[in-house]
């Protein structure tokens, strides 16, 4: 462990602790899920990067949203995202969450995922390959160091707009808001 690694650990143990052991929540949201088992098992072995499937959102801090997100899944995705402890990172997987992908004209899938929950990284590909997930994880490490991967803080800060968008897409939500619903102006 060279010098700056140790200083990093001392300065911010919480972030450094979670950085090298990103547990991915085991939730098959879309068609991309078929590329997750290969990376978890022996051929590609994501455990070399510290990625392990976590059974429940309470134990995960990486949320791989794989493929398109339908309206019903969006409800589950938002609830799962809100149940995950901070610091949590989300990665949009494939073309569909970026701008609608192949189902750009389907009435039941949402087009741009970052309108509803903050996304730290996007991976291109219609079914991105396993290698691109590993490169995404290395990018995530540097983003965590530099503090760019602050999706969960953005979520807390702009929760009012995220909540408004979720209600606009899903109608009346039956779970209470996670953070206080305050607009910037009212705050002052």
């Amino acid at each position: 462990m060279d010098r700056n690694q140790i200083t990093k650990w001392i300065k911010n143990p919480k972030k450094m602790g979670s950085k090298y052991s990103l547990w991915a929540i085991y939730f098959c949201t879309g068609c991309g899920i078929i590329e997750i088992p290969p990376i978890l098992t022996s051929r590609w072995d994501a455990e070399r990067f510290g990625i392990k499937p976590a059974p429940s959102p309470r134990q995960a801090n990486l949320f791989l949203i794989t493929g398109y997100v339908t309206l019903k899944t969006l409800k589950a995705v938002v609830r799962t995202y809100e149940q995950m402890p901070d610091p949590k990172y989300t990665v949009g997987f494939g073309s569909c969450p970026i701008n609608g992908g192949m189902y750009w004209d389907s009435y039941n899938t949402i087009k741009k995922l970052d309108k509803y929950i903050p996304i730290d990284g996007w991976i291109a590909g219609c079914m991105p390959r396993p290698e691109s997930i590993f490169i995404a994880v290395t990018h995530l490490w540097t983003m965590i160091d530099k503090g760019i991967a602050d999706g969960y803080e953005k979520y807390k800060e702009k929760y009012f707009y995220y909540r408004k968008n979720q209600e606009k897409a899903l109608g009346e939500l039956d779970w209470p808001p996670l953070h206080p619903m305050k607009k910037k102006e009212e705050g002052q």
């Binding site: 939730f27 879309g30 978890l40 022996s42 398109y68 339908t70 589950a76 799962t80 079914m127």
Partner: protein, 367 residues
């Protein structure tokens, strides 16, 4: 302490659930009294989207219906279009289609082994299955260009010919998988724990299976030798002889054993395909994609996918886009009627076990 009736969500986010699918169980203690399937998490309205795209634009869309096995979806779409438009397919393309379908059946069965072994805790077998499946995906990447989504079988034949040097590569992979089956037997299929865990679970009688529209492993698990590849041979299945494995039992144990036997048959068929592959062209050109109009008509074609009978009812109104498309996917009856009936009386721990032995994949149900 009297046991109260509880309603429990075996919801979309659950370690025991493969795919995005919810079951609400009313449970008394550990016994399931009533199960209600809750699909729709992966509904993209495929048939609506296909009505807005021309015949050629649909082939990239159609293989995304079911992610576990895109090849049989493409096959059934190509067969329907070829039947409506009267297109002939060259013999070599038929052999390549059979080879692709068998490789995809093998990959899908290996995925089934991973899911099933993972469900029952046999992680070593899961690791092997995924590794062997990945070898097949490398083969797919070589000759179709896409690892998971091939977009390879399309109306008129196949999109590119096999690259040279592919035959030896494929035979090596097939030989390796064939030789490993004995290891799978030793550690998993003939394992006492698996026998206790799966014997008698998810039992369904032959009449019940027939009443509820079951096809594929469920029928073959009850000793009925039903396989579309033998009933209505398509591609080059009539030129290759193979057996259809069946077992008595009718429970999870026999269904998983059928998956194992079918893997051996698939390897055998794939090898035969590679040897008997004739020379020649692989693609009869279809008309110009912007102007191609298929005469008015309707058709129902069916294919034996790894899960059962995959059918496609297609209506063309003489236009350049399909007028109505409806996929008859095997997981639809398995996941909705049969699953709800079998779960009654089982205990909660076996819900995942039964669901995967029925080989239910949610994207096929919601389309």
């Amino acid at each position: 302490m009297t046991e109260r009736e509880l309603e429990m969500y075996f919801g979309p986010q659950h370690m025991g659930m493969v795919g995005n699918f919810g079951i609400t169980l009313t449970v008394k203690g550990d016994r399931i009294l009533k199960a209600k399937a809750n699909p729709g998490y992966l509904h993209r309205g495929f048939e609506k989207l296909m009505e807005l795209r021309t015949w050629t634009q649909n082939s990239p869309l159609v293989c995304r219906v079911n992610v576990m096995e895109p090849h049989s979806m493409e096959m059934v779409y190509s067969m329907a279009v070829e039947k409506l438009a009267g297109i002939k397919v060259p013999m070599r393309a038929k052999y390549i289609r059979t080879l692709t379908l068998e490789l995809s059946r093998l990959a899908s069965h290996l995925f089934g082994c991973w899911a099933y072994a993972n469900m029952l805790g046999f992680d070593t077998v899961a690791q092997w299955a995924m590794y062997h499946r990945d070898l097949i995906l490398d083969l797919f990447e070589d000759f179709t260009g896409g690892r998971v989504y091939p977009i390879y079988i399309w109306p008129g034949g196949v999109r590119r010919d096999l690259p040279d040097g592919f035959k030896e590569k494929a035979l090596n992979v097939l030989h390796e998988i064939r030789s490993k089956i004995s290891d799978y037997d030793a550690t998993f299929f003939n394992n006492k724990l698996f026998y206790d865990r799966a014997k008698g679970i998810g039992k369904i009688s032959q009449e019940e299976a027939k009443n509820l529209g079951g096809t594929g492993q469920i029928l073959r698990g009850n000793g009925v030798e039903s396989d579309i590849r033998k009933i209505e041979p398509y591609a080059a299945y009539d030129k290759i002889d193979f057996e259809i494995p069946t077992r008595e039992g009718g429970d999870a144990y026999s269904r998983v054993w059928i998956i194992r036997d079918e893997m051996i048959q698939s390897v055998h068929i794939a090898m035969k395909c590679l040897e008997q592959m004739p020379e020649g062209s692989v693609y009869n050109k279809v008309p110009n994609p912007f102007k191609w109009k298929i005469p008015k008509g309707e058709t129902y074609v069916r294919v034996e996918s790894s899960r059962g009978e995959l059918g496609l009812y297609m209506v063309s109104n003489g236009g350049d886009k399909p007028y109505r498309v409806h996929f008859r996917t095997p997981s639809y009856p398995h996941g909705l009627t049969i699953l709800e009936k079998i779960l009654v009386g089982e205990n909660i721990a076996d819900v995942g076990n039964i669901m995967i032995s029925l080989y239910v994949t949610p994207p096929e149900i919601d389309r």
